[in-house]
């Protein structure tokens, strides 16, 4: 059985798993990004030397701490993280979603912090000089100006998550990983190789769909004045 025969014979199942993979990544990156952006906004402070125990002081601590911890999480192999959650949340979708979400935190958080911080000091100072309060400054000046960087962080996270999501099927998570796992357990069977090949390849299709999606979002949400 060659790849094309396999594909046409199983197109229903393949499309279903591709969709599931897409949704799985979408949900996790969505939740992860929301958490990261909100956290990033809260802990981003322009104050380089905050007073001890002031809000900015705590914020700086939380920021550095969460960056370090989420970065450490990213160095833990995905298999280990999935497995570590098993005793707590069991086999299945819950574990898969939690772990992938946790993985998606760092890149978006880092880009949110870096993006908010990269906003031109002169712009912030004149905003202050015109009577912009802290929240207004954060939401109407810093966030829109940092948005391209944040969005890029979400994009990168999405691409990484697509490949990590495959491992999730080892703990019975949803998506294309199931094709790979069944394929390898039936090694020697005629359709095992096409199954694994298509499972791997369809990840790139999912990535392409996301790339198109991000290109559109970019066009729609990046303010005209800062588009390059």
């Amino acid at each position: 059985m060659n790849v094309f025969q396999y594909f046409s014979a199983n197109s229903q199942q393949i499309l279903f798993l591709t969709q599931a993979h897409f949704l799985y990544v979408l949900i996790c990156v969505g939740i992860g990004s929301a958490i990261s952006i909100v956290l990033g906004l809260i802990v981003s402070t322009g104050e380089p030397n905050p007073n001890r125990f002031s809000f900015d002081w705590w914020a700086t601590g939380v920021r550095e701490g969460s960056l370090l911890i989420t970065a450490a999480v990213l160095t833990v192999p995905s298999l280990a993280l999935f497995v570590l959650f098993l005793p707590i949340t069991g086999l299945g979708v819950t574990t898969a979603i939690i772990v992938l979400t946790v993985y998606s935190l760092y890149t978006v958080l880092r880009n949110t912090v870096a993006g908010l911080r990269s906003v031109d000091r002169a712009v912030l100072e004149s905003a202050r000089g015109l009577g912009y309060g802290r929240i207004r400054r954060l939401l109407t000046i810093q966030l829109p100006l940092a948005w391209p960087v944040i969005l890029n962080g979400i994009r990168v996270t999405t691409l990484i998550s697509i490949s990590i999501a495959v491992v999730g099927s080892i703990v019975q998570g949803p998506g294309l990983g199931q094709l790979l796992l069944t394929g390898i357990t039936r090694i020697g069977a005629a359709n095992a190789f096409p199954q694994v090949l298509i499972g791997t390849f369809m990840c790139l299709v999912v990535a392409a769909v996301f790339e198109i999606f991000f290109a559109i979002v970019q066009r729609l949400t990046i303010p005209r004045g800062i588009r390059v």
């Binding site: 298999l79 497995v83 870096a114 691409l159 490949s163 080892i170 990983g177 791997t200």
Partner: protein, 266 residues
């Protein structure tokens, strides 16, 4: 270029490492972030040992957790990682340098885009596909190498782009040839980039090596596979913790080495 294009595994950029005075305390303060991983590992291992100690293990679990068994798998794991990391570096770094030459500027953009997109290609899939060719260590090493190649290549090219252009111009301005500039200015300045690439390769390979067991190449993933097959929660927990600890420590060692090398060359 901003932090945006760094690969996962590369920790927060060192831009903000403040001047914090000399002495032992100063060194600690400047590198406090390097204490995070060991702290997590120590706490994690203590929790694990306490947990295992409180459980009564059955014979299957005991056999799986025998030191000889675990260390054997650890050795396989590290070997897989080491082989593939060396291979990745031998291929990706020179290729990255070639690609960042002015002559190759045009394909550079393509490689960067491809490298970005290739992050979505699951290493698990690459590994399994090679399993159809041959089961065992050889194809696992090839699979690991392939999976880490593009990310590291991309990292190297981006890093080399960041090497201060004005320094290169100054060198050319003093009458150095392109060759001399490459060897006496660009490559020394690129050392941090190469070391960062090493770290990325290590992190990716330690991770992917956990999956090598699926094509019969051993490694710590075997513990997990066994635990899943036998449905032993204790074993699962312990194997996850061991893998996480190994990965954190490997990355930590690479991080320490990176900082030491960068401090010396910068």
């Amino acid at each position: 270029m901003t932090a945006v294009d760094l690969q996962p595994g590369v920790p927060t950029p060192s831009e903000e490492r403040k001047e914090s005075g000399g002495g032992f305390l100063g060194v600690i303060r400047a590198n406090y972030d390097l204490l995070v991983a060991p702290a997590i590992v120590v706490v994690g291992l203590i929790v694990m040992v306490a947990y295992v100690g409180s459980q009564t293990l059955d014979t299957i679990e005991e056999r799986a957790l025998e030191p000889a068994n675990v260390f054997g798998q650890l050795g396989q794991h590290l070997l897989l990682t080491a082989y593939s990391t060396v291979l990745v570096l031998i291929i990706a770094v020179p290729l990255g340098i070639v690609l960042s030459r002015p002559g190759a500027r045009r394909i550079q953009g393509g490689v960067l885009a491809l490298g970005g997109f290739a992050q979505a290609l699951p290493p698990f899939g690459v590994l399994l596909l090679l399993g159809f060719w041959e089961f065992g260590v050889r194809s696992a090493v090839i699979g690991l190498t392939l999976a880490a190649l593009l990310p590291v290549l991309r990292n190297t090219v981006v890093g080399l782009q960041q090497v201060d252009q004005s320094l290169i111009e100054a060198a050319r301005g003093m009458g150095m040839s392109a060759r001399q500039t490459l060897f006496s200015v660009e490559i020394p300045l690129a050392v941090p980039v190469i070391v960062a690439g090493l770290r990325v390769a290590l992190v990716l390979n330690v991770g992917t090596a956990t999956l090598a067991t699926y094509i019969g190449a051993g490694g710590l993933g075997e513990l997990v596979q066994q635990a899943l097959r036998l449905n032993r929660i204790n074993l699962l927990f312990v194997s996850g913790a061991i893998i996480a600890a190994v990965a954190l420590l490997v990355d930590w060692l690479a991080g320490v080495a990176e900082r030491a090398i960068v401090a010396r060359s910068g």
